[in-house]
Amino acid sequence: MKRQLRNVLVCTSVIAAFTITSCENAGSGTVEPDETSKERWITVAGALMGTTAGDGNGGTMVYSVSKADAKNPNISIGVYDNGFPVKSTRTARLQASEDGTTLFNIAYSGDNGGEFARYKVNGSGSYTQEDVTVNISQYATTTPRWSKLFDGDKTGIAVNVASIVANNATDKTKPFAYYRGTATVLALDLQKVLINGYKQYEIPLSAEEELKGHTIFRLDAPVLNKAQNKLIIGTWMRKYNPATGAIESTFDRLGSKSVVVDYPSLENPKVITSTVSNGDNSGYRSPNAFVSEDGNIYQATQRDSKGSHILRINQNNEYDNSYVFSLDAALGVKGSYVDSWKYAGNGIAYVLYTHEGTTQGYIARVDLTAKTATKVNIEYDADLNFGQYQGILVSGDEVYVAVTPTGKDGNIYIFNSKTGAVTKGAKLLNKAGNHYIGIF
């Protein structure tokens, strides 16, 4: 009874907070406009297993709590018993509005794959799907990769690369020159629930690179630059053996590449290349590049032969090769790999990573200015795995991460980006084979 009453009070205060702050949210374009003091719903998401433990293919459940409850270690949250199932055959690809009142989802595969829907967050397991949906599958497949821009919840960007073929596939008289696919970049109006526009083009690499069989296999994790006139899109590279047509699983990697396109026209794709790292920078299911207060974009790498790096893209939209930040060096590990990360302001970021010699996931607090990284001290577990992690929430100085080893209970952890303090928050009730994938 006492708890119920308290919940009612919290809820009322949340609603009051919304009504007061709703008109102030002008979407200024700065990084994360939230204030710690603001009340907001916090959505916790968990993935159900499909056929084997940890595969996350059984669908996604969400549950929302107040900030106070999220921080309260005496509160238990069970999305699997009390949550709301998001309409997606496989793991939903979620994003949330900056104020936490709306959840955005694009259904991943299934009959409604590619369908964008908005859910109003009503507290606990109550979510209301808004009437209007929009489907981007014609442009971006039923399994699209997309990110919400940090532009005040205005725009989502979905990207795709289709049908990579050799230039001489059907005309053997032509000499081999390249493997290329057709890229699609699509802008989605998150407020009007409409497709704003899209562009399709082939994106060439240098003739020499292409002759060796290198090509952009996938685009992902787009980010809007500070001037809001360019999108920087992460790439996942692949190499074919031009002599056999076989895909090579090990090859000499090129320098990390991103694709820069004009915004909002989405035209003039241009490839930029880093000399610092040779990893991909496509991330996986979560944003992988962020604009900091200094106007630079910081981008993490994956599948880097020397371990993950954080790369810097300057305001001229070129890689700043004088900025060298190796996570291997900073953490003192080998073969570091960034599963997901988020910039928290003031040069501080939190990184979910793993490294060679383990399958376990870890969290590090990273200082982009000092180029240092320290493993955060939480309760780790051998079954902790951030491979499918989607959502780290930054709200003011606070950084929220859901930490659950596969099949085991865990907690929400709250890190203070200013002080580095670690707070163990609400308990996350888990089920065999499942894991939590984010806080929004």
Binding site: Y139, A162, F176, K431
Partner: protein
């Protein structure tokens, strides 16, 4: 597992021996028709029962001396009761019977007994007869779908992909055979989609436990299609036309020269349908340039199907040196457009498949081969199969069959390059050799030994003509060989009351992978072949038994340790998708059990009824699944297939047949099961939430009812008018683990009507059918609508004894 089997074995052999007993032999016959096939002879005192053979002969052993009352019953004769004194070791008793005033035609009675014979051996088997249905507008798959415990799930209209679910097991757990030969010898073009019921004698559906002569690694059951052997010297033909421009025709003829035994059998079919039926509802929508939905009602536009095939066999039948010696050729060809993928929400344009098969066969059967009681049969086949999958149209289409236009007014390209995936003109060629030989040896009248061997070899080559010549030169080939030896021991004990069949199957599979690679030798690029081989051996075994409590009640039980050997991709993985090989992968194993009761026929005045009820368990282990490593993402997958899964299905089914005065016939059946996730604990000992929960996407409850009413001598004497009504119910089910109404299939109530008129002598039969009378949205698969209301008309013509 092994101990109960041994115990049962012991039981089988512990047949008690009686003192002072005699053997009672004889024949039941009518003056009009000769021997009465399969009549029941019962000794009233001891309840001992025996069935007469096809010619009316019977033998009762171990009959104690003294006065006995004998009761003889059959559907064909009036019951007879007579007294006999047993006072010497051998008694001969001829019995003259009076035929029942029964207007069933003779052929049907014989077929019924054959059906009954197979169905009472102990296996969980349904024998689906086609005789009557063949004259109607009914597809073979529709016929199977009406049978108890079988759910046929088809991805659209005539000719579209089919998946069979037998008692909760489906996909590659269920194997289809044609005359005992795995259907992959024939390929898509000669399949249950294309072969009309008129060319089929019967279909045997074995659930869970499969007899030794159907040797393949079938984990959950087998469907064996017995093609028409044909009455001698007849010719039948039919033609049918109906909705969606569906045209179907077939003919079947057999000729045998009385003197020389020279035999010719020929049959052919042709099917065509536009399948342009209407679809509507929440899955049928056009996506507007801005991404919004426009829900439409539209006709399918890329779904046509055509198949043509024929078979000719020449040879000798019923001659001194062979009961059957036939050399044959079977040729077939089909074309199928593909309207959509797994879900109909995205319509395709221009995707189609084409396949052909040319099959040469040799068939030899001889009873009393070399020695009395030994039957020898050989079946050798060589087949060349070709298949082409074409998908080159690069634009998006909407449900009106128009190119979708994007925001900028330009056509939108498919995000995958072609309709379903990347553009492809994929040619897959297979050479299949199949050799089957069997020996049946009757050790004595009641004991038989069966040895069967099948060799099955496939060489597969594939080439995608959308790839460069160079790339095609580096596509690997796969060769697969399977050898399966099976032995069975069949015994009839306790005066034929107990029939048992104990069998074992020895599987051997070898797969060669030949992948061309480029190596640098002396500074030169050289194309070399990278070879790997995987060999697997495994043993399965089982037992089927039936026990006749009394002529009306037969108990059936069967059990098998069934095996499915890992497929080529499960062993070798797929380097292109970064799935690594796993040579240590084990076969999937399922322990299958069936228990049943077969009861009837019961008579009450003009009412007649019979029923069967049965229960089953399928305990599947070592299921092959791919463990996803969540760390590494889907394009960098390095996880092989592993034996991690466990499922269990428990269920029951019931089948009721009722008839009144030979005018009304009602068949009702239902099947319900729980097919559950059966892995209980995760690595840390925590119980899975899914444990014991129904697996998603399983149609677990189905009911069928069929009613037939016959009016005889309407318009003309000796004619028959048949009225048919069919009803199907499928309970709704969830298609994902999420309990979400959007991912649940709707409940199905589908009703069909039909009428047929047989002119006197049964030579000419006309039939008309209305399917899905109330134009319901019918679904076998989630988000794939099946045809709505449809009308068909069919003409059948039969010439006997030309």
């Amino acid at each position: 597992m092994k101990i109960p089997f041994l115990l049962l074995l012991l039981l089988l052999f512990s047949v008690s021996v009686f003192a002072q007993t005699a053997t009672l032999k004889g024949r039941i016959y009518t003056k009009e028709q000769g021997g009465v096939a399969h009549a029941n002879v019962k000794l009233m005192q001891s309840n001992a029962v025996v069935a007469a053979d096809e010619n009316g002969y019977f033998m009762l052993k171990n009959v104690p001396y003294g006065q006995h009352e004998v009761m003889v019953t059959s559907v064909e004769i009036e019951p007879i009761q007579l007294k006999v004194t047993i006072n010497k070791p051998q008694i001969n008793l001829p019995i003259t019977a009076k035929p029942k005033n029964f207007e069933l035609n003779e052929v049907r009675v014989v077929q019924k007994s054959e059906k009954k014979e197979i169905e009472t051996l102990g296996f969980a088997v349904n024998v689906v007869e086609t005789k009557e249905v063949a004259q109607r507008n009914i597809q073979t798959n529709e016929l199977l779908d009406r049978t108890v415990g079988i759910r046929v799930r088809q991805n659209g209209g005539l000719g579209s992909a089919v998946n069979y679910n037998l008692n909760g097991m489906s996909g590659n757990s269920v194997r289809v055979f044609i005359d005992g030969i795995p259907i992959s010898t024939y390929g898509e073009s000669f399949s249950l989609n294309s072969i009309p019921p008129a060319l089929i004698e019967r279909v045997e559906v074995y659930k869970g436990v499969i007899p030794a002569h159907l040797a393949d690694d079938a984990l959950g059951g087998a469907i064996n299609v017995i093609l028409k052997k044909g009455a001698m010297n007849n010719l039948s033909a039919s033609v049918s036309y109906g909705s969606f421009n569906t045209f179907q025709t077939n003919f079947n003829g057999t000729y045998r020269n009385e003197k020389t035994g020279f035999t010719v059998k020929a049959s052919a079919f042709h099917n065509y349908s536009d399948n342009d039926y209407e679809v509507w509802g929440k899955f049928v929508r056009n996506i507007l340039p801005n991404g919004r939905y426009e829900y439409v009602r539209a006709r399918r536009f890329n779904d046509a199907y055509r198949s043509t095939g024929g078979q000719i066999q020449l040879g000798f039948m019923n001659v001194k040196w062979a009961d059957q010696f036939l050399i044959g050729y079977n040729g077939s060809d089909d074309f199928k457009e593909v309207q959509h993928g797994t879900y109909m929400s995205i319509p395709y344009m221009g995707r189609f498949t084409e396949s052909q098969a040319n099959v040469l066969s040799l068939n030899y059967v001889k009873k009393n081969f070399l020695t009395r009681g030994l039957e020898f049969n050989v079946n050798a086949m060589y087949s060349q199969r070709g298949q082409v999958v074409v998908d080159t149209v690069k634009w998006n289409y909407n449900w009106y069959g128009q190119i979708s236009v994007g925001l900028n007014g330009n056509p939108i390209m498919r995000p995958t390059g072609a309709q379903q995936a990347a553009p492809t003109i994929m040619h897959i060629d297979r050479n299949v050799s199949t050799f089957r030989a069997g020996l049946n040896y009757d050790l004595s009248k009641n004991h038989r030994l069966v040895v069967n061997h099948i060799y099955y070899g496939i060489d597969r080559r594939e080439q995608d003509f959308m790839r460069s010549e160079l790339e095609r030169a580096f596509i690997g080939t796969r060769n697969l060989q399977k050898n399966i030896t099976s032995v069975a021991y069949e015994a009839k004990l306790l005066e034929n009351r107990l029939k048992s069949n104990l069998f074992a199957k020895f599987y051997e599979q070898s797969i060669d992978r030949i992948d061309p690679v480029l190596r640098v030798v002396d500074g030169q690029n050289v194309r070399q072949e990278n070879r790997a081989n995987s060999s697997k051996k495994h043993t399965g075994y089982g037992l089927a038994m039936s026990y006749t409590l009394n002529p009306k009640f037969i108990l059936l039980t069967s059990a098998e340790k069934a095996v499915r050997l890992p497929s080529e991709s499960e062993v070798f993985g797929s380097p292109g998708e970064n799935i690594i090989e796993n040579f240590g992968i084990r076969p999937e194993v399922s322990y299958n059990y069936n228990f049943g009761l077969n009861a009837g026929n019961f008579y009450a005045g003009k009412h007649r009824y019979s029923f069967t009820v049965s229960g089953f368990i399928r305990d599947t282990r070592d299921k092959i699944v791919q463990r996803i490593n969540p760390r590494v993402n889907d394009a960098l997958q390095t996880n092989p297939f592993e034996n991690l899964g466990k499922n269990k299905a428990i269920g029951f089914e019931a089948d009721l047949h009722y008839s009144f005065d030979n005018n009304l016939r009602v068949d009702v059946n239902m099947s319900k099961f729980n097919s559950v996730f059966n892995v209980r604990y995760d690595a840390n000992g925590r119980e899975y939430d899914y444990y014991n929960r129904q697996l998603p996407n399983e149609p677990y409850w189905t009911t069928n009812a069929n009613v037939q009413y016959t009016i005889k001598d309407l318009f003309k004497k000796k004619s028959a008018l048949n009225l048919y009504y069919g009803f199907r119910f499928v309970e709704r089910f969830y298609t994902t683990w999420l309990i979400l109404e959007d991912f649940r299939t709707p409940r199905q109530y589908i009703q069909d009507l039909g009428v047929s008129y047989a002119f006197p002598q049964n030579k000419f039969v006309v039939s008309a059918d209305v399917k899905n009378v109330f134009d319901q949205q019918a679904y076998d698969n989630f988000a794939v609508q099946k045809p709505g209301r449809a009308f068909y008309l069919k003409l059948n013509y039969l010439i006997n004894n030309f």
